[in-house]
Amino acid sequence: MKVSELMERVGSEETGRVTAYLKDALEEMNMTSPEHVTSVGINIVADQRYYDLPADYVKILDIRIKNHANSSDEYRSIPRMIGEPPVEDAPDSHYGFGELE
């Protein structure tokens, strides 16, 4: 469907406003009913605890790690912790935040 057809359906002639709400709608839709699904691979760095989430993410669907609970290089989903470990174990384990270093 083109934006022009959408504008006729909602009875509006304000392109900028409809486009802005359209982008809101797409994000809302991807929260509840995933449509635009993609994935990104990130390198694990020893002693680095924090990693950037994808800049354009709306909802995280799954986080998989290589060799989690297997030794055959498979990617498997990892569990989410409740709370966080109290000890920052390495001097640069905050690397990634920048301002906290």
Partner: protein, 250 residues
């Protein structure tokens, strides 16, 4: 064969925090070893959660949804094994290459190891979609081209990087061209038609909300969610049942 490991994550602000259980001191990935002479040996790491113990290339895979407010095709891409570089205060993309002062603080992508003349695919002001780099995933506009080991081998994006200081990293990127963001009435919304109808309800709801017609707005917002629900239900062929929990009041 790689050893089995145990990971967990938590989210802190806009960061993914990854921790690994330290089983060092024991063999075979177990959290203890036993011998008749010495008895049980516990791991020296104490089995505690720590920051990742070893580096793993492409070790994390994040699956996520994005807003999708642009048209592009998965067939039009270039740029494997590219350098992502932050143009620092001197505007350098690499030690030997100087970028103009107007591009300070912008992201740049430089092809490394492959000969790409970005000008063949792109023009200044065009939009690209980047995949394969967490910071840069998504839609960007081309600010300029720069020479980096060859003509037009680097592109500078109209995107500022958030943190201070220069940084450079190498990754396997895909740069999709032929990208059209949702800018005007001719733009095509790349979703199934049924969901596009749901979106028309959402926009109606927001327009009515602006007019102060809250009751009518709620009506259309409910229709939006109901429409999405019906679309998702149509993909499931079996009966959907929600069972009450073991401790539910019956």
């Amino acid at each position: 064969m790689a050893a089995s490991k145990e990971y967990a994550y938590f989210i802190k602000g806009n960061k993914l925090s990854l921790v690994e259980k330290d089983f060092s001191g024991t063999g075979s990935g177990l959290n203890y070893t036993y011998s008749a002479a010495d008895g049980i040996e516990l791991p020296s790491g104490g089995g505690t959660w720590k920051s990742p113990l070893t580096s793993v290339t492409n070790g994390i895979q994040i699956e996520y949804t994005h807003g999708g407010g642009y048209e592009f095709t998965y067939n039009s891409f270039v740029g494997y094994a590219a350098y992502v570089s932050l143009t620092d205060t001197n505007g350098t993309i690499a030690e030997s290459t100087i970028i103009g002062s107007s591009t300070k603080g912008l992201y740049a992508i430089a092809a490394e190891g492959i000969s790409i003349n970005w000008g063949t695919y792109l023009s200044i002001g065009d939009y690209i979609v980047v995949r394969g780099d967490s910071d840069l995933s998504g839609l960007h506009r081309i600010h300029s081209f720069e020479n980096y080991g060859g003509t037009n081998r680097a592109i500078v994006l109209d995107t500022r990087y958030p943190s201070s200081g220069a940084n450079q990293r190498q990754g396997s990127l895909r740069v999709y061209y032929d990208v059209k963001p949702l800018l005007d009435e001719d733009s095509e919304i790349q979703i199934p038609r049924y969901k596009a109808v749901a979106i028309s309800y959402y926009i109606k709801a927001r327009l009515l909300e602006d007019m102060g017609k809250l009751k009518e707005s709620e009506y259309f917002m409910a229709k939006f969610f109901k429409h999405l629900e019906r679309h998702d239900d149509a993909k499931v062929w079996s009966l959907r049942q929600v069972m009450p929990g073991g401790h539910a009041i019956r």
